[in-house]
Symmetry: D2
Subunit: 360 residues, 4 copies
């Protein structure tokens, strides 16, 4: 979905280079050809098909940019350029400690399309620019709600922080217990707002359910902040070693290894290597390869913070709330009354179950 | 529920005065007599019956304090002492503006019991001290989840803030729109965490459903902070007039009134009195009578902040999270492994739907 | 200084009513006559003279609004309209407890000028509209730095919160000690940023010293948030009684008084009245008369939050910082270089003591 | 200074391995021999001499741990073990872009002492365990105040974030300007609290000046949080590319290079490589080698957050503040009065210039 966008102050058709947004370059009877590039595609190389979609509201002049279609990942004309991640080359080193998490990781790639063919039967939007905004909003409602996944990473980081405090010998210090509660409270806030977005979902006329867009955006907006705070607290509990630990090679080295075994020990009954492993996991999640997914992607995936704020503003129904305030304040004049439409269609209508499917 | 507690570092039976917690003073064949006092009883005077319950974990020596029973509000031996609220005497003044919200308010009273009789058929706990903690935890799960009600007050305050910005002539300033989004994001976080606590509710053996206690505590803990931040932002948007406005009496006064009509005007098409009314509503919710309910009660009702943190710590299952972290870090030794019991009984078991009713 | 402003989206000369900003209505050989109103004037009634000044940047069409002059408080044509404060009428009740702080308080009034005469020798600006912005900026640098005064109120509130925790019997609970540290850290941040603004002050050509405007704005901007957080924490430590306490009249009443003496007692060696008095002081500072000064005035006095953000943006010298970043990033092309002027004149010049008076 | 500490719940002499804290192992007429290890020594390899000091309060049984002395970095018996940093191996790659900051970086090492000799004339403490706490407190007052250095890194990161917003074509979006103001406000808070700690410094009897310990701790405590928030906001302004950028090798590659030149372009007049360089600098400061210094070291250097909270609590003079509150609340009884000593010696004495050097 994410076009590279070029100069962000300009619409697709205004860009100096038309390829800054993916678009149709040529049509045949059998289908269309598209060019452009999609950035930050998480997991694209593990997929079978790519589905291209517009990334934002389009106008009449952006008609060629209003294209949705599917292509196999190995289609002719596609180039994948693998993104670097923090500490990526550790994955190629000997050993399994310094990498932090030897089993799991991810990848992002830039996907470049040069006259890639989409056959008609895989073409789902072709020029209907006025539906682009709705498409993006509905897609992002699903996508933003799905960011509840980050609380799984949060669980691991909370566990790692609790474990390192234990290994350091200070699991009972009140400030440590308190920080673990803060981390948990924040992490479960992501979980709860995501769950609520689904619980308050509602069907379109087709019968397909959409998550509640207000709550989906509330969820994702928390995700742009909370993992950073959990990460900060994990580094607090870890202690400075999390970023000054020597290498695994040194730990295994004949002369230096025993010195490190001795001096990196925390609580006496904990093997030094265990402590090192937990610290490297925390480094991995807060600065290394998985920090890309836990922090930066939490910020920008499914839309950067400002994108959620725009959607929250749209769903907020301020005029309805102004009317409530006026009534309670005893304002009876109509002259300056806001144009309020407390109907069943908006967020408040759903909250108060005005004509909701649950109530029928 | 809330006993007056005396010296909070001491258990009920250790207090210098035994009446600091409500307790049984005498038994007859027909029932028991209780003495003590319950503080902060919101709405007690509008009720038909009072239900007394212990307010915390009890030990063997606190047996007489383990009492649950119902009494009619007019039972002999009960004294109600009405609490003062900020700006309470404005309700007795002439006019309906300065009070801020002339229609709605609330009251808290201290309820003093002096040998009040509870008949056996209205006596639901009598000495079972070891159930007191469970009773309190279950009750507070319901009670804390119910604090989602504060987002209704939040809606009104957001509406009032949006309306006053409008009346001041600056509704489109980006920082004002941004603050309204922040207020909405915070307010909906309360709503979402409360809804999630119910959605994740589960039945006890009796068939009665309990809200999820982790999420109910997450919800209430947000309520101890978010209304204060929404209140602060409402005062920001209101401008300084919210606490320097002259009295309604001056507004109605023959000579001063016209001066105020002229100088308190904001946008030209908004009647001055409307602006004054909205500002008084904001004062009412952030400093006046309804601030008691919106702020202080949000802090302490259903348990002060630390009470939720204790419950969140209990539900957090840190050992299970430590085990996840150890696995991902590649720790294989068993020596220092935490005693983890990833069973269906705890919060994580419910999250992963291990044997949950929904999955059956 | 603070004009009533009318429709805030319009300049002084664009207002429907010209009196929304104080301005010259008529000139004679001996002086000028001014009309308009100044809102929120703290302490004006205790003063000997009033000094009127413009409240914002003025343009050529606002020439009559560019007026600075002094008038005695009792000058002909001035009307003072006293502002209400939260809980103001408690000051007129019998007793000295419910008022919270029987000795100190403040007042704000609206000051209305109807053709008030300013003689030439007390007229310090007369039409020099292009100096209005500089005048306001310099004045607000002093005024914003002076808001360091709020940490005196913070000290009292921290003391009251510590004292009530003590009286409740829980001064040693780790979460209480931790909250007192947070309150202190926040309060001293106000103090430190204010002190730094003075320490980094510098002389104008006249020899008069100005506080550093960046740091003065940093200080005041903290003041728009920190007292609200300290107030929230004080209410946390106080417990719910802070807003459900019965009245002093009940405490003194023959029948009810002894009941309250008994049930409002905390730690056994603390007289009940002492505990009530501390709670009323906390109410006074967080919801009552002194909350007007500690909270609302902290928000809006010397400029609302957004006003400081504008000044911080002006002083931030982003182009100089961009140039630093480009150098460290190894960017050598000049094409797109920002227009940076790392001179002695701006904030960074003063920080690095380029030509500062201290260095000479 | 920082010993490796072993089990943090135990004093030095209680550790299973006595070398967990550096200590005297043997004495001769000419000096002492010490063993142990110092962790996280920033820049140690660039130094001429090492100065060893105790890292915390010591008791009578810790006498051998009360040692201060200087040794040349090349002294016999010292082993340096270099710490890994996030993305460290990028410094060994070809090219100068991916490293983020090709010119500046730092290093931390663990320094192991095995019977290292300290001659008597370089031995400054030898067994005076009861001075260890004072030594640590005074040293940390200097050290914590010195963390004001992090606002230099903050300036660079603010500049980089402003520059990347510019290159993306959106420097004027209100939310971007607003975030740059927030970053500046936070960054200058570090500067101001550090400056204030020095300005409020005072001489010991020797004439040597100490920074004010309250304000030095307030400064460092901000440093444990603010860089993380500035870093988060920089990643927000950077966009997702900050962690999905392809490698410099790809940028230079014959076939892929031109594709990247085309698709990574932002604003049309900005060379793509410039944009890449700024993004890599942001990665370097928020996840890479300099994140170690800007984030993790800001957290733990000169003492982890809890260490500052302990010092703030010590300096807070709560009893003096309780007394202020009691006076204003009208409490006249002496019975339960806190033991207040409002003397010239504490922080408040210095604030109110009771007998301060400035006042003499």
């Amino acid at each position: 979905m994410t076009d590279v966008k070029g100069d962000r102050s300009l619409a697709p058709h205004q860009q100096a280079d038309p390829d800054m947004f993916l678009h149709i370059t040529r049509r045949t009877e059998k289908g269309v050809y598209v060019s452009g590039a999609k950035a930050h595609q998480t997991g694209c190389i593990n997929s079978h098909y790519l589905l291209v979609m517009p990334t934002m509201r389009l106008g009449e002049n952006d008609k060629d940019y209003a294209v949705v279609g599917a292509v196999p990942v190995e289609a002719s004309g596609i180039t994948y350029i693998y993104g670097r991640q923090s500490c990526d080359s550790r994955s190629m080193e000997t050993g399994d400690i310094d990498v932090g998490n030897a089993t799991y990781g991810g990848q992002e790639a830039m996907v470049i399309f040069e006259d890639v063919f989409i056959p008609n039967n895989y073409l789902f939007m072709d020029g209907e620019y006025d539906y682009a905004a709705t498409l993006v909003e509905r897609f992002t409602a699903y996508h933003r709600r799905s960011y509840v996944c980050k609380c799984g990473l949060g669980d691991v980081l909370i566990g790692a922080a609790a474990e390192v405090a234990d290994m350091n010998g200070v699991p009972k210090a009140s400030h440590i217990k308190d920080k673990l509660v803060t981390m948990t409270h924040l992490n479960e806030t992501i979980f709860a707002t995501g769950i609520a977005a689904s619980h308050r979902g509602y069907p379109t006329d087709s019968g397909a359910y959409l998550p509640d867009e207000m709550l989906a955006n509330v969820c994702k907006h928390h995700v742009t902040k909370i993992p950073f705070e959990i990460g900060r607290l994990a580094q607090d509990l870890a202690g400075g070693l999390v970023s000054t630990l020597p290498s695994e090679a040194d730990l295994r080295q004949e002369e230096i290894g025993p010195l490190l075994q001795k001096y990196l020990r925390g609580r006496d009954d904990v093997p030094t290597e265990n402590r090192v492993r937990i610290l490297r996991l925390i480094e991995n999640l807060t600065m290394g390869r998985n920090a890309v997914g836990y922090l930066t992607e939490s910020m920008h995936g499914a839309g950067s913070p400002q994108a959620q704020r725009i959607q929250i503003a749209r769903a907020a129904q301020l005029n309805e709330k102004k009317t409530m305030a006026r009534t309670l304040a005893g304002i009876e004049t109509e002259a300056d009354k806001p144009e309020s439409t407390p109907t069943k269609d908006g967020y408040l209508g759903r909250v108060f179950d005005l004509d909701s499917p649950q109530e029928k």
